[in-house]
Point group: C2
Chain length 212, copies 2
């Protein structure tokens, strides 16, 4: 199979065109769904010709893969930002939950990556591995933060970092879907804050934090 | 708008045909997605004519509403079954979590209702209210069980039944999606068991269960 040109092999102009196609495709897919987003919509939205589109993305797989990567970069970069200090404290998780509840961010749009994932798991597009890889990286950010908290004695040894990391990710994905369904932020608020509350039950007291 | 005939106005044969259309539509939508399921697929799968289909379901809304109700009946009936004793104990929630993890039920298929919901929130089909109503009923089953646990002194007064009910629902929806993405049951197992663990932190000890 001929591989599409990756962004690193393109001229500046080519990179800009490729990025424009990915951005418009991501928006169309998020608003209308993966199946409803056809080549014609993408060509019109990005202002490109059919041959330009197939030059950069010869198959639907290659385009959806680029959309996944683009959305993943966005989400992973946000989670790796200075703000959350690599999730090494309860305060960082609280701040993360507060971001979705208190910042005025629109919950109505849901999670772009989770929403795309829920469509992809029902298709036979050959992109499941890439999707799994991206969610694993997201999980790893939480898990590594929780492991560090444990090493620093901030949470006790009974906490299971891999389990708690999935708890946070599921609370976010599930809470977002429920909030979109209810058209009300409460389900997301409840699920995120319950997850942080649960993390708090593992916080060490001065008594049990003496041994590393 | 002309309303389609509800199942209660039909003959036995009419009811059976209507039920067959709904069942096949539900399967098609769950496997291929809402948008990819067109009238032709449904007619072929259910073995009916176009005029039969429009007789029972004159619009896509009316058919999708019937699919939602059909799936909701299934899920709500399961949650209201004797087995879970109206969710009035930690053991009932543990049994519920175990059902998804230990019974050998296929997590790969995801939650039929959650999966449909994630598509519906992106469409302009006028069925959001019905979807919200069904998820509220599901939430109510958990919430009422938790309220009863609190009244019975099984969990303490600091527990928030509405919050914990959303925690369970989000853990299930989010965990299912993550398990489908990972093609591994661990995320679902982790999120459901973390939710039950969190409920356990509210269980009263003999000391604080004396006041009702």
């Amino acid at each position: 199979m001929e591989r599409p040109p990756g962004p690193w092999k393109l001229t500046d102009k080519g990179r800009a065109t490729r990025a424009r196609i990915v951005r418009h495709s991501a928006e169309l897919i998020h608003t209308h769904g993966l199946r409803a987003t056809n080549n014609e919509f993408i060509r019109n939205a990005a202002g490109i010709s059919g041959s330009q589109l197939t030059h950069y993305f010869p198959t639907k797989e290659s385009l959806v893969l680029a959309v996944i990567d683009w959305q993943a970069d966005d989400i992973l970069e946000f989670h790796r930002s200075e703000r959350f200090k690599a999730f090494d404290s309860v305060e960082a998780f609280q701040d993360w939950a507060d971001f979705y509840i208190l910042s005025g961010r629109r919950f109505e749009d849901g999670c772009s990556l989770g929403s795309l994932a829920s469509e992809i798991v029902k298709t036979d597009l050959d992109i499941h591995d890439e999707l799994a890889r991206v969610f694993k990286q997201w999980h790893d950010i939480f898990r590594e933060g929780l492991e560090r908290m444990q090493q620093l004695g901030r949470i006790n040894a009974s906490a299971d970092p891999a389990q708690l990391a999935h708890m946070f990710l599921a609370a976010y994905q599930g809470g977002m879907l429920l909030a979109q369904i209810a058209r009300d932020i409460s389900p997301l608020q409840h699920s995120l804050y319950a997850a942080v509350d649960h993390l708090r039950t593992f916080v060490t007291t001065p008594d049990d934090s003496v041994s590393p």
